[in-house]
Symmetry: C3
Subunit: 147 residues, 3 copies
């Protein structure tokens, strides 16, 4: 499916995901909506998470137990507790949260066709919030392509 | 090495990697071949894996023991076994596979020059299959640049 | 903040980060400098690390204890020691280094506005060196956008 496109354009946007404590928050609907509102049908979409305590992850949609297990794995792998880390100046969940976030992604780029990101049938884009108390996480969006 | 390019084009493609059980499957040759067949000499290549149980990884080529150890590490880190996960509705390797996949990448973007991805001397692109029984994994390819 | 850009250009560059043993080396200043010197104000920046024993990570800046803990976590998770891995033909730190590197990123793409990568307030881009003795790591840079 080759496409010749003499005039490429680009758009910038921002998406704020409301979060209330640790967990995987689906953002596919919001991302799809933003892409659909831009004047680009085919191109490349990049999302950049502006935080160091919440990152991006693409995983299976519509499977709450899978998501709960995924979250539980990250907590087991990087537990929280007094004396576990030297860096305890901030809240007790600060250091394990930094480490957990480092194991997923800050940026994700996906091809776009017919004004929609070309996700697999079972894929969902998540914001993976690791912090207690965080109430909003921002993503920068960038779309480059042809009308 | 700056390049001024008034006319950028883009191409879309798909690559299917045949897999037969867990392991690291090199896909560099197929990716290089696809890039070489597009009418773009300099640009940016993005690969997006359409699955949630097989992801992408860039690692050392021509070192089977390294790859075997890498795979063994992921299995030790996220073992399979009855009673280890609450989510057991599907096959026993379903849940650990989701978790292992989450630790590598869904999308990878690489600069292209002279119609070839600019890989390091020792780098190979792998599809990291975590699932038993999977027989084919699809990647979307997107190439944007100048002729 | 939509932007219509009939003429997109691209530039390629290389950045060499001096490393002296394992650790997180900030490269944001060098990356910003390179971006500022190209004739593009708005676009997409991609960095590709050319190695398999040092990868990229975006984490919190100005927090040495956090970085030290992050590094310590990767060492605990993938320890070094005789008999731990079958692949011991090379230096003892070779195999754990491959595995640690696999848990972070080879490529990162970030939107650029006003000739600067749109990093979050607390974000820093690091080269995560896992190897002893390595003295220089190369990154390819690619910037695509409008003047």
């Amino acid at each position: 499916m080759p496409r010749l496109t003499p005039y490429l354009h680009q758009y910038f946007g921002r998406l704020v995901a409301a979060t209330s404590g640790p967990g995987l928050y689906p953002i596919t609907v919001d991302v799809r909506g933003w892409v659909a509102r831009q004047a680009i049908s085919h191109g490349l979409l990049t999302r950049w998470c502006l935080h160091t305590l919440a990152y991006l992850l693409v995983q299976a949609k519509a499977a709450p137990e899978v998501l709960a297990e995924l979250e539980a794995f990250f907590v087991r792998l990087v537990p929280e507790g007094r004396g576990l880390y030297r860096h305890e100046d901030e809240a007790l969940d600060n250091m394990p949260t930094h480490i957990r976030a480092s194991l997923t992604q800050t940026s994700i780029s996906i091809p776009v066709q017919d004004a929609a990101p070309m996700l697999g049938e079972f894929q969902e884009i998540f914001l993976f919030e690791h912090r207690r108390g965080a109430s909003g996480r921002s993503l920068n969006l960038h779309l480059m392509g042809e009308a």
